[in-house]
């Protein structure tokens, strides 16, 4: 059992949620509530990571992070290290790969709020920010929760993008799913089996948690 890999996986999952939720809430709400020019394009771009093969996504992310790209240069001059094959680079790649898993459920969550309810909140004297925190967030909560859990579970299982962008550096970019592959290559079936079972348990536990929480939300709301 590669505990370091498990730790990297869990940190990556948590970090991805931390980065993506605020962004997903912003973009999901924007797409749900506002009509604007180019909305269809934005929605298509959001979905792209879902349909691209992970290797293709990984390739473009590597190009984007590379020393010759503005992003890669900016990161290097700020932090003093390169983005590819670092935990930070992997985290950024994971966040981008998970955009569709986060934005879409959140968008559906905000779309489910009737526009009359939004208007009623305004007529109750709530400022836009109060409407957002006291009415919209609680009502979109099931969507936000689904987004967080999907992103977490998907990050734990991500393989192609991780290998392309992060490589296989122990303690830095070697996640549990990469470690399993690594052990299999070395004919260490036992370790691979333990780690695979760990991921399976985490996956089942996550799904049970989702179901329980969403049922509780359901009871609260009817």
């Amino acid at each position: 059992m590669d505990w370091t890999a498990l730790r990297v996986s869990l940190w990556l999952g948590a970090g991805t949620i931390a980065i993506l939720l605020p962004f997903g809430i912003w973009l999901g709400r924007l797409l749900a509530v506002h009509q604007f020019r180019g909305k269809v394009l934005v929605e298509a771009l959001v979905t792209v990571p879902l349909v691209l093969p992970p290797t293709v996504l990984g390739f473009y992310l590597l190009v984007m992070f590379g020393a010759r790209s503005p992003l890669g240069q900016a990161f290097q001059s700020l932090v003093g290290q390169t983005l590819p094959f670092s935990f930070e680079g992997l985290l950024l790649a994971s966040a981008i790969a998970n955009i569709p898993f986060v934005v879409q459920p959140i968008q559906r969550g905000f779309e489910a709020i009737p526009s009359d309810v939004r208007d009623a909140a305004a007529c109750c004297g709530l400022t836009p920010w109060q409407r957002f925190t006291r009415i919209e967030i609680p009502l979109a909560w099931p969507g936000i929760l689904t987004a967080a859990i999907l992103a977490f579970a998907h990050t734990l299982g991500e393989f192609g993008v991780v290998l392309m962008v992060g490589g296989n550096l122990p303690g830095e970019t070697r996640t549990l799913s990469v470690a399993i592959y690594d052990r299999m290559q070395a004919f260490d079936d036992r370790s691979a089996g333990v780690m695979a079972a760990t991921l399976l348990v985490i996956a089942v536990a996550t799904l049970m948690l989702t179901t329980t929480l969403s049922r509780r939300v359901g009871v609260r709301r009817g």
Partner: protein, 371 residues
């Protein structure tokens, strides 16, 4: 105290698209202006513009002595800065909050220590004290409507807007809610706007009426004047003609289930067992229930024989019947009779006539029982 002009709502809306609107109206405090028209005529858009939820091309909206919208000077107060109480068609309650929580949400202008007790008070006012901890899905349609009303009142609004408030409740609940709202408006002293496509709401609640068609007011004014106008074919299609006026219950005859009413034109006997003497009521008499006679008849089972003078005859060739308007002191009564009867009785403007009305034909609308 603010004077009446200060509390008046005045609205001027002009736009070409998407919904064409060309309107100019006012509503004084204590009045109930019903905006009546078919669906798609722009009724809800008017209310939404007043609430600041919609911005028409050109608008000047004044209420509570403040300018809420003025497109010419680019003045616009966002909805949360307008003291508006709005009851939405589907109530739009916050599903994650209890009835109490819903009402408390609209009490942000009060110190937080007072909000709970004030919300309880308001729920008591709409007879929902027992249900304050229920969530919207645990309430019936009528109860939700009451929560929505309590929430709208919680803002201490300068204008109360009701958007098809009874569309989603059944007839019995509707009657009760209509009465409750009528009772409330007597204590509120603010302009009240009611959007509806059901004439029942108009006759039971409104003091003033604006009839909307394709975004324009085809008629507007005091209800008593409009409902007696025989030249509104649209109204006639919608409800059949009738006259509405105020009266007071003076005497009850429990033995026969009769109620004596006095009004500007005299006394009427109505069939009613519930209303107690001393209450003010609104009475509606359908034009087709009024029989005309040139001489006072005798030997009839009828109670109500009123003497008056013909003040107008509206003969629309497209219709089989003729509408005769009879002035009985200050009240104008409408009678719908056949064209043949006009000839036989020699009815013209100025003809003295007797109007005969069965006591069961006198429809008593909102009664304002003390609770």
């Amino acid at each position: 105290m603010c004077d009446v002009a200060d509390r008046r709502l005045s609205v001027r809306i002009l736009q070409r698209s998407p919904i064409p609107l060309d309107l100019d109206f006012t509503c004084d405090s204590g009045d109930v202006l019903a905006i009546f028209g078919p669906s798609g005529s722009g009724k809800s858009t008017i209310l939404r513009s007043i609430a600041g939820l919609y911005r028409p091309e050109h608008a000047t909206i004044r209420a509570d002595g403040e300018m809420w919208s003025n497109t010419a000077s680019k003045a616009f107060a966002p909805p949360h800065r307008r003291a508006v109480g709005m009851v939405f068609q589907e109530y739009a309650l916050f599903p994650h909050l209890t009835a109490l929580g819903n009402v408390m949400t609209a009490l942000g202008h009060r110190p937080s220590a007072e909000r709970r007790s004030r919300a309880e008070e308001l729920l008591g006012l709409v007879h929902l004290s027992d249900h304050q901890d229920r969530r919207p899905h645990q309430l019936s349609g009528g109860e939700r409507q009451r929560v929505a009303l309590a929430r709208a009142l919680a803002r201490e609004p300068a204008v109360l807007l009701l958007d098809e408030p009874f569309a989603a409740v059944d007839r019995t609940v509707r009657r009760r809610l209509q009465d409750e709202i009528d009772e409330l408006r007597r204590t509120l002293e603010i302009p009240l706007l009611l959007v509806t496509h059901d004439f029942d709401d108009v006759v039971r609640l409104a003091t003033h009426l604006l009839i909307l068609d394709h975004g324009r007011a085809i008629a507007s004014g005091a209800l008593a004047d409009l409902t007696s106008r025989p030249d509104l074919p649209w109204l006639r299609d919608a409800v059949g003609l009738g006259s509405v006026f105020e009266a007071s219950a003076v005497r009850r005859d429990p033995e026969h289930g009769l109620l004596a009413l006095t009004f500007d034109g005299g006394t009427l006997l109505a069939s009613d067992r519930e209303i107690s003497a001393g209450t003010k009521v609104r009475v509606r008499i359908a034009a087709r229930d009024v029989i005309l006679a040139t001489r006072a008849p005798d030997g009839l089972s009828l109670h109500n024989v009123l003497a008056g003078t013909v003040s107008a005859v509206n003969d629309d060739p497209a219709l089989d019947s003729v509408v005769v308007q009879i002035a009985i002191e200050g009240v104008r009564l409408l009678a719908e009779v056949t064209r043949d009867a006009i000839g036989r009785l020699g009815i013209g403007v100025g003809t003295p006539l007797f109007a005969l009305i069965k006591s069961v034909s006198i429809e008593i609308l909102a009664d304002f029982r003390q609770t």
